[in-house]
Subunit: 247 residues, 2 copies
């Protein structure tokens, strides 16, 4: 059993990319050229290129050509909480500062009702009122991370911290805000998974469709769940670091 032609061509290109013969930003031969080189039809070259685009090696610009993708250096997001945290606010801001980069964010809050999965994570009933906040995190003015958070309105209604990003505790982070209304956060749990990027995420993050994102379901817990969030992080941009004390 011999390998299909389109896989042969894809392998050939992949080799050249990982070996560095084809450097990031380089233009790869057009499909017509590829087809001639390998003695096959254009259609087959199209399939080979399509595969490598899906794998994240190549990037096609219609009308211009196909190029080896620039991969940003992977940064690390420290998800543990050890240092004093010095009123730094959210974990994201603390991380950006420790890397000497300009980290900011935009957000929109609105009241909503708990979906079944959010309800389960917050320990409330499905349909209960929650404050939903959608964040776009920016590093050096580029969107790099998305997050949606939910807080039970039962806890924050009629308090100064009901809107996460307004009032005296704007930008202070969940822990500080909850403490301000007498809710002490004792623990955060993070459920980590990964999946292919969704179309609208790809657009908002400027990542290619077909790329992979890590999804973190974070829940802050005090006496009861105080906030839960779903954080979407492109794997090409960040890896997560957890520290686990032993014994």
């Amino acid at each position: 059993m011999t390998q299909p032609a389109y896989l042969r061509i894809a392998d050939n290109l992949r080799q050249r990319i990982v070996k560095g013969t084809l450097a990031p930003g380089d233009r790869v031969p057009s499909r017509h050229e590829l087809a001639r080189e390998h003695g096959v039809s254009d259609r087959v070259a199209v399939e080979a290129v399509r595969l490598l685009v899906a794998e994240g090696y190549l990037e096609s610009r219609s009308g211009s050509g196909t190029y080896v993708r620039q991969r940003p250096k992977v940064k690390r997001l420290t998800r543990s909480w050890y240092r004093g945290q010095a009123g730094a606010g959210s974990p994201f801001r603390a991380d950006m500062e420790s890397q000497g980069r300009a980290g900011t964010w935009r957000s929109i809050s609105e009241t909503s009702t708990a979906s079944s999965s959010v309800a389960e994570r917050l320990g409330v009933a499905e349909g209960d009122p929650v404050m939903e906040t959608r964040y776009t995190f920016l590093a050096d003015d580029r969107p790099v991370m998305l997050s949606t958070s939910w807080e039970p309105l039962e806890i924050t209604r009629d308090t100064p911290v009901m809107l996460p990003e307004e009032g005296p505790y704007a930008g202070a982070g969940v822990v500080a805000r909850m403490r301000a209304i007498g809710q002490d956060v004792a623990l955060a749990t993070e459920v980590v998974s990964a999946r292919g990027i969704l179309a609208d995420e790809a657009e908002r993050l400027g990542e290619p469709v077909g790329s992979i994102v890590t999804v973190i379901q974070r829940t802050y817990l005090g006496e009861r769940p105080l906030e839960t969030a779903e954080i979407v992080v492109p794997v090409e941009r960040y890896e997560l670091v957890y520290a686990i004390p032993v014994d």
Copy 2:
């Protein structure tokens, strides 16, 4: 701007799958039927199906048909170190036991030399001798997780624990083994990322090519790094749970 026909067909099928109209295991219409339904050529239906196979929704069996993929229920792997641990050995075994499943593993050890990334994680020089152990973890006799671990031979040479899975401490886990030779593990760090599955991993794990795996780089630290491992986990099978104490 109107959507390409193959995307329309793919969307249609995807809807039916997530809504449950097409249940896991169901056969989807053949591409010829799909083409007739949507008034396009067979060729276009092929592209639609190919996309959904790549996304993990469908599975094609040559000669038989195309089927909605069975997704195993996602289990959780607790990565935090609930102390006590009752001599349970590795985190994997502890997790399997807590879920009432039969967790076992196979392993092969051999001496090797540190690659640059392993050397960096272990704090040794590139090329230094290490004990390399490759694990295949089984749940109910099915391979579900792969791991490769490296330990500096400088530390374990000529001790009873040099071979991780042989001798008096076989299966006891890194922490117990290291303690047995006077090395106390204080901390584990886990660097979490994700990527597409590699061909040989797909074969060993019985996962479809094109699926996604979470990759954990775990390092056990005492006075110095004592062990580092690269753990490969299919996202369809496990999500990771980290507990982070606040304050």
